[in-house]
């Protein structure tokens, strides 16, 4: 009863605001995309059929529903361009996330062990790149990685390579760009988990005879797993749909799903297929998202 009183009036409105937001800016647009994905391309404005026309009554809407087909989804399965794009996206996201974890964990671990006043500065240094536009930073990488760019100049000057190396338009360049861009998203959740860990726990482990390695693997790492999970999902999911970095830094011989989607939408003007690509991507993403949710819930329970 008291709970009901708490959620009365303006407070109740505030409580449903996030749901309203989700409905308005996620569910409704998703409904549009879903509808378009079931339609057919047409040389028209908008470029697909059928179009709902509420002025023509119920029969017309019924007819529109009857015209829906799964042809676009069949195309996604039959043409291996799409399957390969999805696969490549998953591979790129998995490899990038692994590299990010390998780099991010030691950095976050070191940050968490800095004296308190240095931790804030280290945190700033991690966040500062966000103050510059993401696009400008990726263009800067093009500058660094191009034929006569900074990297090749340094490598030549140090006589590490005899001739300029081709960096740009390779997967290496793309991975450099992705890892560079997403590193803060890996470091911050890891740092948050490691920094709030009771320093007495690793001490207790070593007091009980655990070597520094054993202490790390038996106590520190298992207790940081929620942070590892959060960091990996925060990186994996957006990298999966990444468009800008592979488009600017990787070669054109293979595409990630974000690029395929862009191509269908803007170059082919095939809105229905583009929509189908988007819907499938979303479905594929729901799995890791659900996993993330479960992880978070477990973390909450552990904290209780």
């Amino acid at each position: 009863m008291s709970a009901r009183r708490i959620f009365a009036g303006p407070v109740r409105l505030a409580a449903i605001a996030p749901y309203l937001w989700m409905a308005l800016f996620f569910l409704v647009p998703f409904g549009f995309v879903l509808k378009i994905s079931l339609s057919q391309t047409a040389v028209a404005q908008p470029p697909y059929l059928p179009v709902f026309d509420l002025t023509e009554g119920l029969a017309a809407i019924k007819a529109a529903f009857a015209a829906f087909s799964l042809d676009n989804y069949r195309l996604l399965v039959s043409d291996n361009l799409y399957v390969l794009s999805y696969l490549r996206s998953f591979v790129v996201a998995a490899v990038s996330t692994s590299i990010l974890l390998l780099i991010g964990y030691p950095v976050a671990y070191a940050m968490a062990r800095l004296p308190q006043r240095w931790q804030g500065i280290a945190m700033m240094l991690v966040i500062v790149p966000f103050w510059t536009s993401f696009l400008i930073r990726i263009y800067a990488w093009i500058n660094i990685l191009q034929h006569d760019g900074l990297l090749n100049q340094i490598l030549l000057a140090l006589h590490i390579v005899p001739a300029p190396v081709v960096w740009l338009s390779t997967d290496t360049a793309m991975y450099i760009g992705i890892v560079y861009s997403y590193l803060p998203f890996m470091i911050l959740p890891l740092y948050a988990t490691l920094a709030k860990m009771d320093p007495a726990l690793p001490e207790a482990a070593s007091d009980l005879g655990a070597s520094p390695q054993a202490t790390f693997w038996l106590v520190t790492f298992p207790l940081s797993l929620p942070g590892v999970g959060a960091g990996c999902l925060l990186c994996f999911i957006p990298i999966l749909g990444e468009f800008v970095i592979p488009d600017l830094l990787a070669g054109s011989d293979s595409m990630m799903i974000g690029q395929t989607l862009w191509l269908e939408f803007f170059t082919n003007k095939d809105w229905p297929v583009a929509s189908a690509v988007a819907v499938v991507l979303l479905v594929l993403l729901v799995a890791p998202l659900a996993l993330y949710d479960r992880l978070q819930r477990r973390q909450l329970e552990a904290a209780r």
């Binding site: 009771d198 007495a200 726990l201 001490e203 207790a204 482990a205 070593s206 007091d207 009980l208 005879g209 655990a210 070597s211 054993a214 038996l218 106590v219 298992p222 207790l223 552990a302 209780r304």
Partner: protein, 398 residues
């Protein structure tokens, strides 16, 4: 089964102690801390501290926060390395060993139980690191669970335990390896008052049964007095006094210790030249500003300075309306001060009175409430005579 533990297997046998030289002589103490210094930046946390602790002792390090007692404990555990001096365990320098190489275990202040491990796995953690056989680990864990009465909780995670249960798991985990010395950092600070008292008694019983040397760090003097055989009082990185609880209270070595341990009345004054008329009883005459002339029993150690401090514990100050009863030995009731009661604090077992002396100074007196209805209780504004014997007075040379 706990009794068995003490007899069948000597608990002092360490699990993972590296080979060490045999003790050179029998009189080497279990633990010798020799002129140890620990500095943090410019701050000396521990300042040339020396201390011997014997096998089987229950030793308490007592002091205000920041006195260096925790730093000292952490040096014994190996979390800090001494800048100077040595820490000798059985005559063998362990000062530079890493924590996991020492036959010493610690019970942490907030227990530091591993939240991802069950009670059983927490207790078994140290045994596994020592490479103990699986069947032996099972037996030892069962023994420890029984010892600290945790039966039935083996599968729980620390989150699912009460404060008192967590404390027991921490104790069992630290004792499982049968350390030479168990270090306890504020072991009872996280418990409520009632539980603290019963746990004190259990810790003492456990220590007697196992015979393990316990070193406990605490800021709570009641806790130290209750549990410890000997107490080391620390201030500013130094040991002010090492003594039994009784000696510490009745014969504090300095004014600082006297004021830190318990409540005390202090009067500064000058020792007068010996008066031949009072020569039959060996006592000193001290002229104080606040309490006039005070007669003090001659201390065993000769007093070297003339400027001293006379100290008297409140429970040794008696109050009466008209002075000592006529049958009291006159020589014993020689210190008499008159004043007015200003405050009365009823504490249940005792009542504390603050008496404003005619000199303006305040004297505290604590009287046991031996009767349920006390017709002799004093109230503020009552004029009283406070008196105490020369034997109950202490002379402190700062």
């Amino acid at each position: 089964m706990a009794e068995e533990l003490a007899t069948s297997e000597p608990p002092s046998e360490p699990l993972a102690a590296p080979a060490r030289p045999a003790p050179v002589a029998d009189d080497i103490p279990l633990l010798r801390i020799d002129a140890v210094v620990k500095q943090f930046g410019g701050f000396r946390a521990v300042d040339r501290l020396s201390l011997d602790i014997g096998a089987g002792e229950f030793f308490a390090l007592l002091g205000p926060s920041g006195c260096g007692k925790t730093t000292l404990l952490r040096m014994l555990a190996g979390f800090e390395t001494p800048d100077e001096g040595q820490i000798l365990l059985d005559g063998w320098d362990i000062g530079k060993l890493l924590p996991h190489e020492r036959p010493v275990n610690m019970m942490f202040q907030n227990y530091a139980l591993f939240p991802h491990l069950s009670v059983r796995d927490n207790i078994a953690f140290g045994l596994k690191r020592a490479g103990m056989a699986a069947s032996d680990i099972v037996a030892r864990v069962a023994e420890m669970v029984a010892l600290v009465k945790l039966d039935g909780l083996e599968k729980r995670k620390p989150d699912q335990l009460s404060g008192g249960q967590k404390q027991r798991v921490a104790l069992a985990r630290a004792l499982a390896r049968r350390p030479r010395i168990l270090l306890l950092d504020e072991p009872l600070a996280a418990l409520d008052k009632k539980l603290r008292e019963s746990t004190q008694a259990e810790l003492m019983a456990l220590q007697r049964r196992l015979g393990t040397t316990f070193i406990v760090v605490t800021h709570d003097q009641d806790e130290a007095m209750t549990m410890a055989d000997r107490i080391g009082v620390m201030d500013k990185g130094r040991l002010e006094q090492v003594a039994t609880p009784r000696q510490l209270y009745e014969a504090p070595a300095s004014r600082w210790v006297a004021e830190f341990v318990g409540d005390i009345n202090l009067f500064e004054g000058q020792i007068e030249p010996r008066d031949s008329r009072l020569a039959m009883a060996p006592r000193l005459t001290v002229t104080t500003r606040d309490a006039g002339t005070v007669y003090v029993a001659e201390p065993r150690q000769p007093v070297t300075r003339t400027s001293v401090c006379v100290a008297i514990r409140p429970e040794k100050v008696k109050l009466s309306r008209y002075g000592p009863a006529p049958n009291t030995d006159n020589a014993q009731a020689i210190n008499r001060l008159e004043g007015v009661v200003t405050d009365v604090s009823y504490l249940g077992g005792t009542t504390t009175y603050r008496v404003k002396l005619d000199s303006g100074a305040v004297l505290r007196s604590s009287m046991a409430n031996t009767a349920r209805i006390d017709i002799d209780a004093y109230s503020p504004t009552h004029r009283v005579v406070a008196w105490f014997t020369p034997d109950d007075c202490l002379v402190l040379e700062q």
